[in-house]
């Protein structure tokens, strides 16, 4: 095994481009591992862990680009490094061929587009606040995709934004829709009558996709970031966004998706909700319905979309555990016919944080305590739900919605783990995310089920997909790929969680299925 590395001083590229180049290096003959990343402290740890650290890489500073390759032979490693240089050169030539000179700063970009009205920021978190503040000070609305921005900085940004009646969507805002345009990770949906205010990206994606499935659409989807309803931020953006949707003539109903608001935020939030003057549905994950009846409170993302459409149509609406309970009963019967031994534990492997959170909140009352990195509490036991997009899993690597390999590896691992009986997964489609996320997941599901079978066990994989037919990946194709791999496909995340619970605990049937036949 030969390891070779070079460091290019002061050479910055965005992480997605680096990942693509690393991917193509891994496909070269003899290459075992390849890293193309900036020399940040976290990345130095990754290099060391991957056996790619060399005296050259150790000298790299955060502004330097590190290219490191492990290959069977020295010549192959060198060839991969040469190939990397070729790929970067090709990129540069391609860019130069356009004849456009890219500005280096927000200020000079504004000279090219003087009437810009929004700045989209996805730079590393340590720098994001400064760029966002620059944008706000120049009167620009901000879409702040970056994470790892401190709460104090968020408060400061949003105070400036509110003072100038500007949107500061985020930090850690994955998705937004403004005037029919999707920002960040966005499903392709039609414009419609429902305005959304959402703490999270996947929550908004799930609601927008569900609205699309119902034949409805989004007027605007304003992201606010997961901490907006904390005591410190005091709902600054949520309130501003609700006021804006109240005034917007294209919005006829409003959905608010969030985590439970801090107690100190609730009175002010409710006062704003009362003033919206349009039908409004609130889904605060984990918060009991409350309020004075000015809003319809629901518990799941799916219900939020369903309730909003019902309100728009003047229909009555009540939550249901399953959209097709008869079909569920049939599938359960089929599963029970297979008497192969199956583990008692549930493992949720999520790429969408809000979806993971929703699953945990639905499942704890049904299955008991669940260890998790989303939501509070949770104790070690047979059941576990992980949000793989959380900071602790994305240090030095891309979000799992962009790079599906990390989760695929965990799915395979679950196949070898005797205690895991049910794997619960999401799959999030849309623009900006991986081009074909079902493929690596399907391959992993097949491998995991095969590994379990080889061990005399069966492994149930329950999956739901957030997406639309118009998404670049195509909802039907992605669902089909997972189904073909042996996954139980369920129409929504909430229903998938309930289905998983039923598979593990038949005694829940009465509660979840009633007398459906």
């Amino acid at each position: 095994m030969a390891v070779r590395a070079v460091v290019w001083r002061s050479y910055y590229q965005d992480s997605m481009i680096l990942m693509r180049i690393a991917e193509s290096l891994r496909a070269l003959p003899g290459v075992r591992e390849a890293a193309v990343l900036m020399g940040t402290p976290a990345n130095h740890e990754l290099l060391a862990a991957a056996g790619l650290a060399t005296p050259e890489t150790k000298a790299a500073t955060p502004g330097d680009l590190v290219l490191a390759v492990a290959a069977s032979t020295d010549a192959e490693a060198q060839a991969a490094l040469d190939a990397a240089k070729g790929l970067f050169d090709a990129r540069r030539r391609e860019r130069e061929a356009t004849g456009r000179i890219l500005p280096r700063t927000l200020e000079s970009a504004l000279r090219q587009l003087p009437d810009a009205n929004l700045v989209s920021i996805s730079v590393p978190g340590a720098y994001a606040k400064f760029e966002a503040m620059r944008g706000l000070r120049r009167g620009l609305h901000v879409f702040l995709f970056s994470d790892n921005v401190s709460l104090a900085d968020e408060v400061e940004l949003k105070q400036v934004a509110v003072r100038r009646r500007l949107l500061c969507m985020g930090p850690d805002c994955g998705t937004a829709y403004l005037n029919g345009v999707g920002l960040g990770f966005a499903n392709v949906v039609a414009r419609g009558r429902v305005g959304c205010v959402a703490a999270s990206g996947t929550g908004l994606q799930a609601v927008a996709s569900r609205l699309a499935a119902l034949g409805e659409g989004v007027s605007h989807g304003i992201g606010v970031g997961g901490r907006d309803l904390s005591a410190e931020v005091d709902g600054a953006m949520t309130k501003l966004a609700l006021e804006a949707l109240a005034a917007d003539p294209t919005t006829e109903a409003v959905i608010l998706i969030s985590k439970p608001p801090a107690a100190s935020v609730l009175p002010g939030l409710e006062a704003t909700i009362r003033k919206v003057g349009k039908p409004i549905v609130v889904s605060c994950l984990g918060a009991a319905a409350r309020g004075d009846g000015s809003a319809r409170w629901v518990t799941t993302l799916e219900d939020a979309a369903d309730a909003a459409v019902a309100l728009l149509d003047g229909r009555s609406w009540a939550p249901r555990a399953f959209s097709d309970p008869v079909a569920v009963r049939t599938r359960l019967a089929r599963l029970r016919a297979d008497t192969t031994r199956r583990g008692a534990g549930l493992l949720g492997l999520y790429t969408g944080g809000t979806l993971a959170h929703e699953a945990r909140l639905l499942l704890e009352p049904l299955l008991g305590p669940i260890a998790s990195n989303v939501g509070a509490g949770g104790e070690a036991g047979p059941h576990r739900i992980l949000d793989l997009g959380a900071d602790e899993f994305t240090v030095g690597r891309l979000h799992p919605m962009l790079d599906p390999e990390g989760r695929a590896a965990r799915v395979r691992e679950a196949g070898r783990s005797a205690g895991v009986g049910v794997v619960l997964v999401d799959l999030v489609l849309g623009r900006g995310v991986h081009a074909d996320p079902a493929r690596p997941l399907a391959a992993a599901i097949e491998d995991a089920r095969r590994a379990a079978a080889a061990d005399g066990r069966s492994l149930l994989v329950v999956a739901s997909v957030v997406g639309t037919e118009r998404d670049p990946q195509g909802l039907g194709a992605q669902v089909g790929a997972l189904e073909a791999a042996g996954a139980e496909m369920v129409p929504s995340n909430a229903q998938a969680a309930r289905f998983a619970a039923l598979a593990l605990n038949p005694s829940l049937e009465a509660e979840l299925l009633g007398d459906a036949r």
């Binding site: 002061s10 910055y12 004849g99 000179i101 500005p103 280096r104 700063t105 000079s108 000279r111």
Partner: protein, 416 residues
């Protein structure tokens, strides 16, 4: 903050743009600048004999011999190493020196005054075009004889011309040359021609001896397209001097190299230097020479880039890209365009025809340099490490650290 950086920088830009440098006199450095005793000025940021590179040591030896402070190169070297010679940067005395940039008290210097900003700048009359030149570190008999001839024949002739005709307006000459394809650092062919044209008739009138006149005219015109560089540098220095000490300004007042370090000074930070290692110049070499022969980047000629010319104004000069090895004229144009990223504004007097008359980028702001990660490219000659001659030309990319360190110092002084 109470002090407005933007206002200070606008003032700096205004002063750089309104400068009207005039060539007013030729004098010995001793008389013009009060350079006395055993003192030598050199290019770039401060440096002691021990750390000086080959070309600068060679030039110091040459200057010591020229002044008669020692009789042999070996003695000159001992004297230089003894600590008895005081070394200062040219920039600390309002002067600039190309390449090694060594100025001694008896060196004749041209005096460029800017009546608008009230500044005066100095540089020596570069020797050449004969083979080995002091500024590249040569100090042989031919070099020393050339220096004496400049002192005894050329300097008095120029002085006589200026006395008869009055000052030469360098600002308008440079604006004209810029429109004729000079970028004023590695190409001064047009400016040299314009200067020769301006001096020709007055020299005929001022120098009655025909042989002497012919020698001077040949010195001015023969095979030396870079003759004007010293005048251009002096004009730029006169402009840059006007911004030194503007409180609260983040505009670069000096960029210079001593062959070991690249250094900058900043308007709002006075005489403090911020340095980093001098770059290896990426360039083209004369036949018989290669990168291994090259000294690191050297000379005060980066005063041209400090004022938005040279590498900053590549778009002015389709001809220079071949000399310095730039890839294409399109690249030269985009280089100049990208300099807008790091400058306060542009100088309308120096209009660039290929950019639809847009002025040269002017007023390098250290904040913008650091934010954008763009350092000004410097067009430059390449000196041999030892041999006392020019071996090529190219583009040097200065290190970013001096700009970052200056920014940190600026923050300490103004925003602590």
């Amino acid at each position: 903050m109470a002090l407005s950086i933007e206002a200070a920088n606008r003032e700096a830009l205004e002063r750089l743009c309104r400068a009207r440098p005039m060539w007013t006199a030729v004098r010995l450095a001793r008389d013009a600048m009060g350079l006395g005793g055993q003192a030598l000025l050199h290019a770039g940021p401060p440096i002691e004999w021990e750390r000086m590179c080959g070309p600068m040591r060679g030039a110091v030896i040459g200057a010591v011999l020229y002044e008669g402070w020692a009789a042999t190169p070996a003695d000159a070297e001992r004297l230089a190493a003894s600590g008895e010679i005081r070394f200062d940067p040219c920039h600390s005395r309002g002067a600039v020196g190309p390449m090694a940039g060594v100025i001694s008290p008896s060196t004749p210097v041209i005096v460029v005054e800017d009546p608008v900003n009230g500044t005066a700048a100095y540089t020596f009359i570069a020797d050449g075009p004969w083979g080995h030149q002091l500024r590249f570190g040569a100090h042989g008999r031919e070099t020393l004889a050339g220096l004496a001839w400049i002192r005894d024949i050329v300097a008095p002739a120029f002085e006589a011309v200026l006395e008869r005709e009055g000052p030469v307006d360098l600002a308008s000459l440079m604006a004209q040359a810029l429109s004729m394809g000079d970028e004023m650092h590695m190409r001064n062919a047009a400016a040299t021609g314009l200067l020769a044209r301006a001096l020709a008739a007055p020299l005929v009138a001022a120098v009655p001896d025909a042989a002497r006149l012919e020698a001077i005219m040949r010195f001015l015109t023969r095979d030396n397209d870079q003759f004007f560089l010293g005048w251009a540098m002096c004009a730029a220095k006169a402009a840059a001097l006007s911004i030194e000490g503007i409180a609260g300004s983040t505009v670069v007042s000096t960029m210079a190299r001593n062959g070991v370090e690249f250094g900058i000074r900043v308007a709002g930070l006075g005489d403090e230097w911020f340095t980093g290692p001098a770059s290896v110049v990426a360039g083209l070499y004369f036949p018989g020479f290669a990168a291994g022969d090259a000294n690191r980047d050297i000379g005060d000629s980066a005063i041209m880039e400090t004022c938005g010319l040279g590498g900053m104004a590549m778009a002015a000069s389709p001809a220079v890209q071949r000399i310095v090895g730039a890839k294409s004229f399109a690249e030269a144009v985009s280089t100049t365009r990208s300099m807008a990223e790091i400058c306060v504004g542009s100088n309308p007097r120096f209009a660039l025809a290929p950019l639809n008359g847009q002025g040269t980028p002017t007023g390098i702001d250290i904040r913008k340099v650091v934010q954008a990660g763009i350092v000004p490219p410097i067009n430059t000659a390449i000196a041999h490490r030892e041999a006392g001659r020019m071996i090529g030309a190219g583009i040097s990319t200065p290190p970013l650290e001096p700009f970052v360190n200056a920014l940190v110092a600026f923050g300490k002084r103004y925003a602590a």
